[in-house]
Amino acid sequence: MSVSVTAGVGGQFCGTIGGFALDAEFSLAPSGVTALSGPSGSGKTTLLRCIAGLTRLPGSLHVGDEVWQDPARFLAPHRRAVGVVFQEASLLAHLSVRGNLTYGARRTPARAEVGFDDTVDLLGLAPLLTRSVANLSGGERQRVALGRALLSQPRLLLMDEPLSSLDAGAKAEILPYLDRLHRALAIPALYISHDAGEIARLADHVLYMREGRIVADPGEPRTVTLEGLDAASRDGLALAALRAGLRPLA
């Protein structure tokens, strides 16, 4: 099967890895954040790894006019303009914050659309630049990981539950930065999460996965409890509801 090459991102993967069967077809708009949600073990991370080229399954994938995978070719991960933020920040321990931020930037073809200063500004990284990565807080680590991914000049940004390893305080600290990123981002982004509040706040589109497949209907009631959400998430939810055409009662 081949995928027509158009704007945006599209692809399908079908195969088995470690006893898990993935059979997913998806497409992303040319810009905006698409949330990828679903129960744990549904294959979200596997799909993300396939898109990044870190896991190889039969299938096809195009990003804009570039074919990253089809039956005849498989672009190695280092040849894909993809930014990945892993669940754990996975910073390179032997480099400073600045060294981490510039590692990818130094290896990308000349034209830089995402500037170093702008990124440092956007994510509030200036006070961290000379620090060693060993003594950053969880939230700081994820901000550096995010900046590092952006500075590698990606055409597609992949984020694998970047907030799930953070405590509530660190989450609250990093969410405003993600809001700003969301507004500034000119490329498509795939954001794995199963936190309804996070999705409502940060995503423009939502894809659901179940048992290795992308499904139209999440198959579970999509009610969201407002109890326990912080004010910012509640606002995000309200905004998403308004955008979706819902009107408040009375």
Partner: protein
Amino acid sequence: MGEVVWTTLRLAGLTTALLLILATPIAWWLARRRAWWKEIVAAVTTLPIILPPSVLGFYLLIAIAPQSPLMTALHPFGVRTLAFTFQGLVIGSMVYSLPFAVQPIRNAFEAMGPRPMEVAATLRATPLDAFFTVALPLARRGFLTAAILVFAHTIGEFGVVLMIGGSIPGKTEVISVRIYQLVESLQYGEAHKLAAGVAAFSFLALLGLLLVDRRTDEAVR
């Protein structure tokens, strides 16, 4: 006496340098492969730890003797034999200390896990680039441990050098063998000097090793 110390240090230094280069790809391969049969290779590279030095020395002597297949292949290049030569001693020491180089480096690569290399790949580094700019720096303590172990182990080797070196002064005579000969000829005074030197050096090497480990622990914490 200066001569024998110099030969020993030269042997240990050269063995360490060459062995780190040789052990790195082996350790990388062992750390990254998941096939069970890689442990056969691991067992072969670890064998010198448990083989009696005389067994190892015997086989090495056969391998570097003039009529061995290995040496026959080298005859056109003007090499007849490596037995009782300094070069032969370097090769023997490398085989003898191989496990002490492979094991710490393999452990360091394994402790690192696959993630740093994946991160480097998503940041556009080619595999070779990532190896030199991510894997090697992250495994540096493993390399330091390997270097200290190999250097000290080479200083301390006796059986293998005795069998394949022949203890030729200025060429293949090293401290450990000289001490043996001094004791045989009842020159205890001379033996004391060399033996105390080796004991002091070994203590310092071990202390250095423990301090490296300590720093690693602190870095992890």
